[in-house]
């Protein structure tokens, strides 16, 4: 039995923690992310992220699909930058098969990848202020994104899911029949002019966002110094892309491990040193401007030529294992492709960017305030399809 006076000593004023479910249905979780947060007042004690509400089993599905069918699948992983997901996969298959891809096809892939980057970053630029309460940048930015999507659609036929790469090049013609085979899928007339106009619009919206978002004192108050990720932690948790570059690590696969024809293009890798939410926003905004410059250069440099290399009708990749990666809008996107000589891969490991970018959540969120949770979560720029695959 405890003595009466002891009881009195052991009782202190305690505020019980509140467990709160943020998501899976919540405006700022971009879909179906769920965070089980223990709150002490508004401060987060610890947080358990729960993902998988959107798991579609793409790695398993890829094992029952031919290489041609997988391209249609992979541009659904990160649906705001559909085309960019196809590129590393197709590069892997081409590496296995040893196919030399025509120059023009590589340039078209490059242009479309950069358009996808702009489109993806514009989604971020628009949705992030929304999480901080500013509703107007959303509409302004999505309006401009529509022009970018229209460009992608005018070439590929799909706004979100282009499914335009083919093993050996890009989709060469409309169909396989005698009539449709003559209808080329090359860039439509007026595409370059329209693209240059759109790039000017993109620069303009970046200037507008400078006014509305990055130059806004309230945004600075909310994001500067919030959610700082030091470089070593970013590397430990496998952050890539703008999130890593905002932490001061100068790493861009387009320059460090060039694929497509990025080695012929002159561009800057945008970095910031602070590693906070503001840096992550600004890095993406500058990357849009860089992408617009890349596209302008590419339009000058694109050669004429065929769209497809000669490839066998039935694709059977030789046995082997290959890892190919590309700098996606959100970071390093890679496919580890194991072929056993069949029409379908034996195993396809998808290294999706958002998944790795989110692994830092259990480290970064504890100790933050609920409003900062929203700011940090948004600044990591994830897409749930890319997390859950």
């Amino acid at each position: 039995m405890m003595h009466r006076s002891e009881v009195a000593v052991s009782v202190e004023l305690q505020t019980p923690d509140m467990t709160i479910n943020i998501g899976p249905q919540h405006p700022s979780t971009h879909g179906v992310l769920r965070l089980i947060a223990n709150l002490d007042g508004e401060r987060i004690r610890d947080v358990e992220p729960v993902i998988g509400y959107m798991h579609r089993g793409y790695e398993k599905l890829s094992e029952v699909r031919t290489y041609a069918q997988i391209t249609a699948l992979v541009n659904r992983i990160d649906w705001v930058s559909g085309f960019a997901n196809e590129v590393p996969f197709i590069l892997g298959v081409e590496k296995l098969l040893g196919i030399e891809v025509p120059e023009r096809a590589q340039w078209i892939r490059l242009i479309l990848s950069e358009l996808a980057r702009i489109s993806s970053h514009l989604v971020f630029m628009s949705s992030y202020p929304l999480e901080l309460g500013a509703t107007t940048p959303l509409m302004h930015t999505l309006r401009e994104r529509e022009y970018v999507l229209e460009l992608i659609e005018s070439v590929t036929g799909g706004r979100f899911h282009p499914n335009f790469t083919r093993v050996g090049g890009v989709k060469p013609n409309y169909g396989g029949g005698s009539q449709t085979k003559k209808q080329s899928m090359d860039l439509p007339a007026g595409f370059f002019k329209q693209t240059l106009e759109t790039m000017d619009r993109v620069d303009q919206i970046c200037d507008d966002l400078d006014t509305l978002v990055t130059g806004n004192e309230v945004i600075m108050m909310r994001t500067q110094g919030v959610g700082v990720i030091p470089a070593d932690k970013a590397l430990e948790y496998g952050l890539t892309g703008p999130n890593l570059r905002a932490s001061g690590v100068d790493y861009d696969l387009r320059r460090d491990d060039p694929y497509l024809t990025y080695d012929q293009i002159d561009f800057n890798v945008v970095t910031r040193d602070t590693g906070d939410c503001y840096a992550r926003y600004v890095v993406r905004q500058d990357e849009i401007r860089e992408s617009a410059n890349i596209i302008r250069q590419a339009i000058d440099m694109i050669p004429a030529g065929p769209l497809m290399a000669k490839v066998p009708r039935v694709l059977k990749a030789p046995p082997g294992q290959v890892y190919t990666r590309a700098e996606n809008p959100k970071g390093e996107f890679g496919y580890y492709l194991v072929s056993e000589g069949g029409k379908m891969p034996y195993r396809l490991k998808i290294r999706s960017t958002s998944f790795s970018n989110l692994t830092i959540l259990p480290w970064i969120l504890p100790g933050q305030l609920v409003p900062d949770l929203v700011a940090i979560l948004g600044s990591l720029d994830f897409v749930l399809g890319d997390v859950d695959r």
Binding site: A134, T136, V218, R222, L369, P371
Partner: protein, 336 residues
Amino acid sequence: MNFWLLLVIQVVVMLALVLTFSLVVIYVELKAGSHMQGRIGPYYAGGKYGWAAPLADAAKFLQKEDLAPAKADRTVFGLAPYVVMMSTLAVFVVIPLGPDLVVVNLDLGVYFVLAISSLSVLGVLMAGWSSANKYSLLGGLRAAAQLIAYELPLVLAVLAVVIQAGTMSLNGIVEAQNDVWFTVGSFDVSLPFIFRGQIIGFVIFMIAAVAELSRIPFDMPIAESELTMGYLTEYSGIRFTMFFLGEYASLIGLSAIAATIFLGGYGFPGVSGDMANYLGPFILFGKIAILAFFIIWIRWTWPRVREDQLQSLAWTWLIPIALANIFVIAVLKVVL
């Protein structure tokens, strides 16, 4: 005429005016906000320009099922919107629309307004607590902290005016602004208080008013992206409509107070006597409309600040500045 009958008529007329004007403000919010975003906004309802959109909205909300969470404290949950609505509407009792157009001309009008409008925090807390929802609770607590913090600069800003005007009656304050301040040649110049050294007080009042209204950039209590909708999360149907209308009524209420205290209320240069009784309401509503548009404009441009930043803004900036303002005004009042 019977006093009570007259009172009822006055209250009903005032209510109708305020609620109609709320609908107008809602429409302007929808339409102006949309255009600021490069959208069109309401378009079909009512034919041209979607003018009937707020009515259609209201009709839609009224049709919806009035849900209450199973574990909610039903009585409190049901009462909360009425408390908010009541405290909002009671403000209008003392707002003068013209020299004689006022429901009750209280000598302590300013005091009454500030006291009654801070009652709404009670309703918000009731809503947050009784919803049996953690988001609502957080929202309710945030609202309480915020409203208490901003009550103070609001009162202090008004206090400076009271000192300058030398009265606490709202009619008196308006008349003080219509009085001749100085004469240039044969011109009698009368200026509202905002031009008589109350500009700092006005800015503080407007910042505090936006915070009282829980509108962007101070909308943490309902912060949609953080707390889904804060204390409004569980409300639907007619009770949500009450909150919704109450929000806009209090937007008008605070704009009306600001217009009365700082912008000269129903007064306008060259309007006096009987004319003031006829034109007064229009002048006042015009001033309210300008202020309301300004608040709407801010809402569609700025993001929201954080709870702790909001508190530090109130306690470390607004309150000291407001106190200094009172000091300066008081000294000037004595000296001049």
